[in-house]
């Protein structure tokens, strides 16, 4: 295949997406109408553009059957509704990542399957907490405080950390925590079982259920009914305990469940 052919092929493949996403006018119109049918006056006020520009954009969208005019109001067609809902998702996905740029950009995301990354918009209300030079264990302490109130915890546990185990055992011996579900790799499970104390307090504890998976784990995910927390590894393979992503809203917990489910299979 020649360069020209390759380029042409590519242009064809992406033409649909390009048409929508690269015109500010077309995408803005779709988003404005997504909120509800609007007439020309309302669109002009909202987008602050002259009628001619807006009418031109509307005409283009009408031609490709994304909007239609009913009496004086423009509304989305079913195709337009499907497409705009997914455009909103795309924007929310980018927003969610962008909001916690430092967290996402410094870690290895290979432990999060593509299918789960596509729903990262569910984390748009998440915040990240980082340790600072004056408080090296800020992230860890925030985590411990967070789990201390949970009745039920599910954790994908990719590391062997006695510090974490110590706190979990303390919670298990307390009154609040009724159930702890761990997903670990074989390697980690073996290490836990070699330690008599951990074997007794975790493996043989009725409140604890441990599931062992074959693959190497690259995410540290904790969630309960009220929160989710995520820590990751650096690209070089080292675990990063200095940055933690935390959220307490329903969507984020839903995301955690989706991620958890992919590890169970």
């Amino acid at each position: 295949m020649s360069t020209a052919e390759a380029k042409k092929e590519l242009a064809k493949e992406f033409s649909g997406v390009k048409y929508i996403l690269t015109s500010g006018m077309r995408s803005k119109l779709l988003l404005a109408i997504y909120d509800g049918p609007k007439n020309l006056d309302e669109l002009r006020n909202e987008l602050k553009k002259p009628s001619a520009t807006i009418l031109h954009g509307l005409k283009e969208l009408e031609t490709i059957n994304l909007i239609r005019k009913v009496q004086k109001y423009y509304e989305l067609t079913s195709n337009g509704f499907l497409l705009t809902t997914n455009m909103v998702k795309l924007i929310e996905n980018w927003y969610a990542i962008n909001k916690n740029k430092l967290f996402w950009n410094s870690h290895d995301l290979d432990g999060i399957p593509d299918d789960v990354l596509k729903d990262v918009y569910l984390l748009k209300d998440a915040e990240y907490v980082a340790s600072t030079t004056s408080d090296l264990s800020n992230a860890f302490n925030t985590y411990i405080k967070l789990i201390s109130k949970a009745k039920k915890l599910k954790i994908i546990f990719p590391i062997y950390s006695e510090n974490h185990f110590k706190h979990l055992i303390k919670l298990l011996n307390g009154k609040k925590l009724k159930k702890l579900e761990l997903i670990v790799s074989e390697e980690i499970l073996n290490s836990i079982e070699e330690n008599e104390m951990l074997k007794k307090e975790l493996v043989n504890n009725k409140k604890v259920k441990i599931e062992c998976v074959e693959r190497k784990l690259k995410v540290f995910l904790t969630y309960s009914e009220d929160f989710m927390a995520l820590t990751l590894f650096f690209k070089d393979g080292h675990y990063d305990d200095s940055q933690i992503l935390i959220a307490k809203d329903k969507n984020a917990i839903k995301w955690a469940k989706i991620l958890d489910n992919t590890y169970k299979k």
């Binding site: 997406v17 067609t77 499907l82 997914n86 998702k89 996905n93 870690h107």
Partner: protein
């Protein structure tokens, strides 16, 4: 909002150039140098190299020693953009299925996950096989141990099909509009019905309002049917899929409607 403007610009920057997207596609798989990328993409050296420069300047990729690496965030940008592309394609590929049809009862989550239906097949009736859609679903039901379904209307064959599953000791979970609820139940053999209800093998939920959605979830397949904007059911088209993703998609939608029954 400032961030949304930035995002707009970021999206535009990547979406504008197929070459940049192609480069990211390759770098997402393996880090590489310009020469390697030229070989993989068939795009001229000068274009690859100038676009690599732009991507590096905008912090989408990083050069380490001789190779370019995609940044983690860019991976998410790229994958979500491709997901959007797939959704556009899915809408276009099954245009006759979606166009001029009522989507009001689809959940927003199901629409956001519409690419889960990417391996679907659109079954359409033909002049010589006008029952193709019905027969396709009928076969699925007859070969299924269990079924979950949203039936917006009562087809005369449904009671028999339901009876068949129950006699085979399978489970049936249905959501139907109030208007057909009694009729449907009464047409299933008395003994079979009572026994199944008692052992919770049969659950039927009555939906207060009209249902604008047709959905079946069998062991192997899911099928989706829609109503036209004029209010009539489109008997001529049904979207059928048999992979795991579509199955989960259908379950989500089924539960979404089921929640409304209970409210």
């Amino acid at each position: 909002m400032d961030t949304s403007n930035n995002i707009d610009n970021d999206i535009k920057f990547l979406a504008k150039s197929e070459i940049r997207l192609k480069i990211l596609n390759e770098l997402d798989k393996h880090p590489d140098n310009v020469r390697g990328l030229v070989k993989k993409t068939n795009i001229a050296y000068s274009s690859v190299s100038s676009n690599i420069g732009k991507l590096e300047n905008h912090n989408y990729i990083t050069k380490v020693e001789n190779k370019y690496y995609i940044n983690p965030m860019t991976q998410v940008y790229y994958k979500t953009l491709m997901d959007f592309k797939n959704s556009v394609e899915l809408v276009n590929d099954y245009d006759s299925f979606w166009n001029k049809h009522n989507l009001n009862q689809l959940s927003i989550t199901s629409i956001k996950r519409i690419t889960d239906l990417k391996n679907s097949e659109l079954i359409e009736t033909t002049p010589i096989d006008i029952y193709k859609t019905h027969n396709t679903i009928k076969n699925q039901i007859m070969n299924s141990k269990n079924i979950k379904a949203i039936f917006p209307y009562l087809h005369p064959e449904y009671p028999n099909l339901i009876e068949g599953i129950l006699k085979n000791n399978g489970t049936v979970e249905l959501i139907v509009p109030k208007s057909i609820f009694k009729e449907l139940l009464f047409r299933v053999n008395d003994n079979v019905r009572r026994k199944a209800l008692r052992y919770k093998k049969l659950k039927v939920y009555s939906f207060k309002n009209d249902l604008n959605l047709y959905l079946t979830i069998c062991d192997e397949n899911m099928s989706l049917g829609l109503f036209k904007n004029d209010g009539s059911f489109d008997q001529n088209r049904v979207l059928v899929s048999n992979d795991e993703q579509s199955h989960e998609w259908a379950e989500e939608l089924f539960n979404h409607i089921k929640k409304q029954v209970k409210e």
